[in-house]
């Protein structure tokens, strides 16, 4: 999605120009574009009257925000304690191998998937779990993780 003036205006009109809305406004931008485009950051900071440096400070502090464009599907693998003791690390490595992600987290070359770690989705009873977009998948194994990706690939 390209960053248009109109799209930004739609977000910013909900916020009076005050610094307290910085995080909420950026969250809206993130939800809209799946990352924080630099031009959107400038617009948000201008509108709220906060220095650009503060905008970036907030953006790099909180995990919600991403500075890179994200893939079509968001794969969040839970590495919380309950998942960890039930072997989530091996499952995560399986995802990483399958998606050929070189760093700890990242996006596939075809922009189909973004893989990231999350610490606790609050579904500990079904550990290990992963959330793909809005859907939670529980009791994962390496094999199931492979299946899961295949179903999303063909969607």
């Amino acid at each position: 999605m390209s960053v248009t003036f109109k799209a930004l205006e739609n977000i910013l009109e909900h916020y009076p120009p005050s610094s307290e809305h910085l995080i909420s406004a950026l969250q809206d931008v993130q939800a809209k574009f799946k990352y924080l485009p630099p031009e959107a950051m400038t617009a948000v900071c201008d509108h709220l009257g906060v220095p650009l440096s503060r905008g970036w400070a907030v953006a790099t502090f909180y995990k919600t925000f991403s500075l890179e464009p994200q893939g079509e599907h968001d794969v969040a693998v839970c590495l919380g304690t309950a998942c960890h003791v039930r072997g989530a690390h091996n499952v995560y490595e399986k995802f990483r191998r399958e998606l050929e992600i070189t760093g700890q987290e990242g996006t596939t070359r075809d922009l189909k998937f973004s893989l990231r770690q999350v610490r606790c989705l609050g579904c500990c009873s079904m550990a290990p779990v992963a959330q793909v977009d809005e859907e939670i998948h529980g009791n994962l194994s390496q094999r199931k993780a492979g299946h899961l990706l295949r179903t999303y690939r063909t969607r």
């Binding site: 909180y62 309950a82 039930r86 610490r119 609050g122 579904c123 500990c124 939670i136």
Partner: protein
């Protein structure tokens, strides 16, 4: 519907009760996040569609999580004059068959987990019996909730409405006694009286610290400055803990009512709930609850015509664990990075926007209406000398009955794990329990008679924390667990204090050496002294308690560390550098399942002939171990 007087409230209660227990059959589907993850949405959609298509004279409704997470999805049948029946593991496939029976007015026996003979209605004057006379047939033999090991020790106070009401229905909440305590508070009590009741009840903060709630309120009331803020911490960041999510998703009004009562006591008219954005359903449930309370006049101006004003704003967290810390949370609401500050000036004096602010967590707020409604004496009777009331734990990890349990303070770890939790699966051995999240510690089997309350856990080196309780068995390596928590904390350290930012990194490096079989016993001493430095040199509780997982594992499992260092062995067979996978040719029947899974093509062998594994290619991912049904893959 506007609720501005006791008559309105009574009327709402009447309507609500008729909706809760109508004169026709009702089917409930547990639809909290845990239920949805197990497929409850599809079950609900199916039942709802069938009911509509067949013009069924009954109600299909959603409800929150009653705690039986290991049996999700849960479906309940409430027929007039019959006990409430709970069905477990109702997959969408089973739901169709279940529907056929229920729609025909029959109670099928299959998938039954338990029955409930009455609704004890914690707040609403005494139990409501579901039927008269004696039960016959299989119903008589079906265990009651209170007969189940999972429920025997439990007592639901904060979770009183979870699994009973539709969380989006304000009238359901009122039907079970909700908002009556608020009415009593506003019309018959002075703020000081409210504070006294909460103080005398002995309620302590459920978010981790265990600070007496009434004392906090009193200091905030005394503090100079205007406006004052009442805050709710719903930024449940502890990995392995989800009681706040479940409370919000099952009973959001309990939290709003608690905050209203607190606001009256403190003298505040503005509130904030800081909720984790990773919980989308909880966020939506809270939004809807705030809206419906506002529409009814229970939030806003001149509540119950008493001149008391209070409203609540919702703030979404940005996914930073440190924002569970009070000063960081307030910085975040102000739109800043969530860095904690030194607390020589307390937040009750100068908190959010430098105004007096009172922060309590979700579970604490949910307890408040009950304390007012039932009285301090009633509440004081539950729990131990120093810790009153109940506590919700998420009992997870290597335990059979995974779920959310609310037990009176003082229950022993052993009872919780072995009775409520049903013990460790597959006859493996219980090793330790991790409690208190990344700030807590691991408590070993030797101490499992320890009663769980704020003070005894503190003495054992752990903390109550928010209530995550992760059971570990002999397949869990304690060095690896310590590493896991340090990884988490390094990630989440805000970086303000050097001992926390760099000390934890150094500790992690030492642990890395251990798990590779390197390092020396002298490094253990360095770990201990570094731990002390991080504890003493950090401003906030994140750094101050960060070494706890390392210190408790060192204290109780030193021999396991020594095995790594001296014998280059990982007794639990977890640390990758110290383990090898092998195939036992006597057990391998050559099914080739592992050959297909191995990402390295390290396993070779013909069909129906024992395979062999080339350890020089093996990356120890464990995929073969996972798929082998014959136990032929060994790891040591």
């Amino acid at each position: 519907m506007q609720i501005t007087s006791i008559d309105d409230l009574q009327k709402a209660k009447g309507t609500g009760l008729n909706q809760l227990y109508p004169d026709k059959p009702k089917i409930l589907v547990g639809m909290a996040t845990c239920g949805r993850a197990a497929g409850a949405q599809r079950v609900y959609d199916l039942l709802h569609k069938k009911a509509q298509q067949e013009h069924w004279d009954g109600v299909v409704e959603k409800t929150g999580c009653i705690g039986f997470c290991y049996k999700e999805p849960l479906v309940d049948a409430i027929f007039p004059g019959k006990p409430r029946i709970t069905y477990g593991e109702v997959t969408p496939e089973i739901a169709g068959a279940l529907w056929e029976e229920l729609a025909a007015g029959r109670i099928p026996e299959k998938q039954i987990m338990a029955r409930l003979d009455m609704d004890d209605m914690v707040l609403n004057g005494g139990p409501r019996k579901f039927f008269k006379g004696k039960l016959k047939g299989f119903l008589a033999k079906t265990p009651r909730y209170e007969d189940l090991d999972f429920f025997k020790l439990q007592r639901h106070i904060a979770m009183r409405n979870c699994g009973f009401i539709d969380p989006d229905n304000l009238l359901h909440y009122i039907a079970r006694g909700g908002y009556f305590p608020l009415y009593t508070t506003l019309t018959t009590m002075t703020p000081e009286e409210v504070i006294n009741v909460v103080t005398f009840a002995g309620l302590r903060g459920r978010g981790g610290g265990g600070f007496p709630t009434g004392v906090k309120w009193a200091s905030c009331r005394k503090a100079q400055g205007w406006p004052k803020y009442v805050l709710c911490n719903a930024d449940e960041g502890d990995p392995g803990a989800y009681m706040d999510r479940s409370l919000i998703e099952g009973d959001p009004h309990a939290i709003l009512e608690g905050m209203l009562i607190g606001a009256y006591a403190i003298g505040s008219s503005e509130g904030y709930i800081y909720v984790r954005a990773e919980y989308p359903l909880a966020v939506k449930t809270l939004q809807r609850a705030i809206l419906s309370a506002r529409e009814a006049g229970l939030l806003g101006e001149n509540i119950f015509g008493t001149g008391f004003n209070f409203d609540i704003k919702l703030n979404l967290g940005g996914g930073a664990f440190v924002c569970g810390e009070s000063t960081a949370l307030m910085a975040s609401i102000e739109g800043k990075p969530g860095e904690p500050r030194a607390k020589y000036v307390h937040t009750v004096d100068k908190g959010l926007w430098n105004r007096p602010s009172n922060l309590n967590n979700v579970e604490t707020w949910a307890n408040v209406p009950v304390i007012i409604g039932k009285g301090a004496d009633w509440y004081r009777d539950i729990g131990t000398e120093g810790s009153k009331g109940t506590k919700i734990f998420s009992l997870v990890g290597q335990v059979k009955n995974v779920g959310l349990v609310e037990v009176p303070m003082g229950v022993s770890i052993k009872d919780l794990v072995m009775q409520v939790g049903g013990g460790v699966p597959e006859n493996r051995e219980f090793k330790a329990i991790q409690i208190g999240g990344p700030s807590g510690g691991c408590i070993p089997k030797e101490h499992w008679d320890l009663p769980i309350d704020f003070d005894s856990l503190w003495d054992a080196g752990a903390i109550m924390g928010s209530g995550g309780m992760i059971v570990m068995d002999n397949s869990t390596c304690m060095v690896d667990v310590a590493k896991f928590f340090l990884d988490f904390l390094i990630d989440e350290s805000c970086g303000k204090c050097i001992p926390c930012r760099l000390g934890l990194k150094r500790m992690r490096e030492i642990l890395e050496e251990f798990s590779a079989g390197k390092g020396s016993l002298a490094d253990l001493d360095e770990m201990e002294s570094l731990s002390e430095a991080v504890k003493d040199g950090s401003l906030c509780a994140l750094g101050g308690s960060a070494p706890n997982p390392v210190l408790t594992t060192l204290r109780y499992f030193r021999e396991e560390y020594e095995a790594h260092i001296l014998q280059q062995k990982c007794p639990a067979a977890v640390c990758k550098e110290l383990i090898t996978y092998t195939i036992n040719p006597e057990l391998c029947n050559g099914c080739t399942a592992c050959v297909a899974e191995c990402p390295q093509d390290a396993i070779t062998g013909d069909k129906k002939k024992p395979h062999s594994l080339d350890t020089s290619l093996c990356i120890k991912c464990g995929a073969c171990f996972e798929v082998c049904k014959f136990g032929a893959v060994a790891v040591a």
